[in-house]
Subunit: 449 residues, 2 copies
């Protein structure tokens, strides 16, 4: 599905990818390259990230084709040669991909994904691979914090109106589902990914009626069991109207929940709960929204506010406190030799790598980044998900499996790491002796030091 | 074009839009509604926003159709009736839109756009209209700050790898062009919007060669006049290699620029400029990138760093300091009567409105938000851009006209407003007496106060 959405976008690439590909073709540099995707530093407010976006990447790689129109556009730029055009016309991605399964917690410097392919192929796909891993991982890593904050209460994605475009809303809804979010207001995401949908009324519905009571009565008649938004004029007056209607109309007025969307949500929820309970309407739940993020949810949960579910919009939909990651796609091996950029503060671990997660009594104690093929203790996290351009069984798309995996993997992390506060000490990630030695050797060769 | 990209996305809507539409249809609430799009508060770091996204909105409204597959999906939800399905199958947007032309500076509470249409139609389009105005305005408002910071120097969009998905990269490139950005690395955006493209090589190109000198020589041979990235190993050594190659190979080694991508850009640029000038290579320009934003650019410009152009990636591509706006789409009139939500701190100016920009000697002195049709001093900013579902001449797509408009409108703002620092005093926006009186009257009617 994700691949289908992205199929028409072969030209989604930075221009320099094409310039370099042409260079490689002209120079005959078509040996095997390894590119590693990783995040150099975690944002201040993240103890871990939830790796996501793999299904979108594999869908893109499987379907990447250049149309005649694409090639004609490139020709019109007057920068490229026939060698590039011919190569693009025949293009099929034939490489391998090793990756963390979607929903795996990941830390700074750990490979999220490694592409192993002829250099021009691996270079060409840089922009799209990074973009997709980035947006999905940003969103999943924010969404999971809201799920953690809500404990067992429901969290719904209300972000569609303020995500960065339509794709972002779909990528986000997909990532949020993996992160454990319970549903979305986004109908298109519901259709594409089979997600549970939620949503009933906005203030405009109430305002379009001459009075609130009339609006509530009409809506409840059409949608038994619905959620009524009670704060268009005055929240507690709105709650009183619900109670009055329930009293007057009995079984003809079935309401599942009320929604609060402004004011002091904790206080209003308590007052509303009191009014509803006193009227014998204990089964009516309370749903809250209004500029919520994980901290707002956590504060309400800590205060034991009688709120059954949260709608989270903008803060989650743009990952407002950490809208980007310092993610990179770096050449780490070419033609059998480790490669690295060594300019200040931006170095790279060379060669193919593996992440080993050490666990004791079912709890992760730390990770080791090692060389691929090393025999070290710990669970090996990177898997072969694509071979010669085709998904392996580990690369098959399974959204619900990813969601279960995320929940299981999170349960194995130390609680300080899954808390909203900064983990002290941070989760430990070390480099294996073999990888350290290899890095030193490559560094020496590259800089001649 | 933008509409074409978005055509298949009729179901991009929050579920409650459809629920409410069904309600309106069942209840016969099909009178004329006015919805107003505005931003309640500007982000801390913005003195103004650059209104954008109108072309995408109009393209969406023109093309919005529901397929049988869309309707079948909605039927599968088991929430809706035939009345809704029949209405969706026949759906054509038949309303009017009044809007600020793309590229108009706008302030808090000022209408960016007003939709005037039968209530169900105007409600249906809420999510998509907001999403598109939001993402384009977020991006343009960030991009223009980078342009301002760079004074007359070149600024290129390098954001594609870290925007929130592919759409966001396209929406951003479109908005950046209006904001005055000079080009993009995003090939797909270049194709769709006819934007100038930029980009030559990444570190991986250099690393794939056995040494940097060989990489430079090969690339310059293939792409005369290109830009060489000099910091893969050591920046000044890289510059020396460029100089040596120019000396050895003379006219066979034509370089347009070097790019610095790490370290202290100001110091390195000065040192590189010194080396190049001493070697008689005054015509080679210096281009800089690496975690730049408007503040980084401004500091380099202020220090008079010899940098001719800047590549700006993530900070601009996600608008990192202000990734969202407090934008809303609020019912302000229905069936000829002003409407407003009055819940705490979230009120709305009722009725149709106009923005009047007051100017003296070609400089804006303040805006007045008035009632539509009021005869007030000042330039009227909202224009009729769509009538009965068709674009008027003011609604025609013209990206370059929008770019020129933005430059002209910005030149008319007081310099404190277009500075990067917080404007003191802020730009003045007042409410006309007639609108104040109308607001009070509607408030009284609505709350019965």
């Amino acid at each position: 599905m994700a691949g289908g959405r992205h199929a028409y976008r072969a030209l989604f690439a930075d221009l320099y990818e094409l310039t370099m590909v042409q260079g490689y073709l002209e120079e005959g540099l078509s040996g095997e390259a390894v590119f590693t995707v990783f995040v150099r530093r975690l944002p201040e407010s993240r103890n871990f990230l939830l790796a996501c976006g793999l299904d979108a990447v594999l869908g893109y790689l499987e379907r990447l084709r250049f149309t005649d129109e694409d090639v004609a556009y490139l020709r019109s730029l007057g920068r490229f040669s026939h060698r590039l055009f011919d190569w693009l016309r025949d293009f099929r991605f034939e490489g391998s991909v090793y990756a963390l399964p979607e929903g795996t917690p990941v830390f700074a410097n750990e490979p999220i994904l490694e592409v192993v392919a002829p250099l021009p192929q691996a270079q060409l796909v840089e922009t799209a691979v990074m973009n997709q891993i980035h947006v999905h991982t940003v969103m999943a890593s924010k969404g999971v914090r809201c799920v953690i904050a809500a404990r067992e209460r429901t969290v719904i994605d209300f972000g569609a109106r303020r995500t960065h475009g339509v794709d972002a809303s779909l990528d986000a809804a997909h990532a949020f589902h993996i992160a454990g979010i319970h549903g979305t207001s986004n109908v298109l995401a519901g259709k594409i990914y089979g997600l549970p949908l939620a949503g009933t009324m906005a203030h405009s519905y109430v305002q379009a009626h001459d009075d609130e009571r009339e609006a509530f009565r009409a809506f409840a008649r059409m949608f038994p069991g619905t959620t009524l938004l009670v704060d268009t004029y005055d929240t507690l007056t709105g709650v009183q109207r619900v109670i009055e209607l329930a009293g007057e109309r009995g079984g003809d007025f079935q309401i599942g929940a009320i929604r609060l969307d402004s004011g002091d949500l904790g206080t209003l929820a308590r007052e509303a709960r009191g009014l509803l309970d006193a009227a014998g309407l204990k089964e009516i739940r309370i749903f809250a929204s209004s500029d919520l993020d994980e901290y707002g949810i956590a504060a309400l949960v800590k205060a034991d506010a009688p709120i059954d579910g949260f709608g989270v919009g903008t803060a989650m939909g743009v990952s407002s406190d950490a809208p980007f990651l310092d993610i990179v796609y770096k050449l780490s091996e070419y033609a059998g030799e480790g490669r690295m950029k060594v300019s200040r503060s931006k170095s790279v671990l060379p060669g193919r790598k593996q992440v080993f997660r050490l666990e004791e009594h079912g709890r992760a104690t730390g990770d080791v980044i090692g060389r691929f093929g090393e025999a070290l203790d710990g669970r090996q996290l990177l898997r072969l998900v694509m071979r010669q351009g085709r998904r392996t069984s580990d690369g098959e798309s399974d959204l619900d499996a990813a969601r279960r995996r995320a929940a299981e993997e999170l349960a194995r992390l130390p609680s300080r790491v899954t808390s909203l506060e900064r983990a002290e000490p941070p989760y430990q990630v070390s480099i294996s002796t073999a990888l350290e030695q290899f890095t030193a050797a490559v560094h020496k060769r590259v800089v001649g030091g």
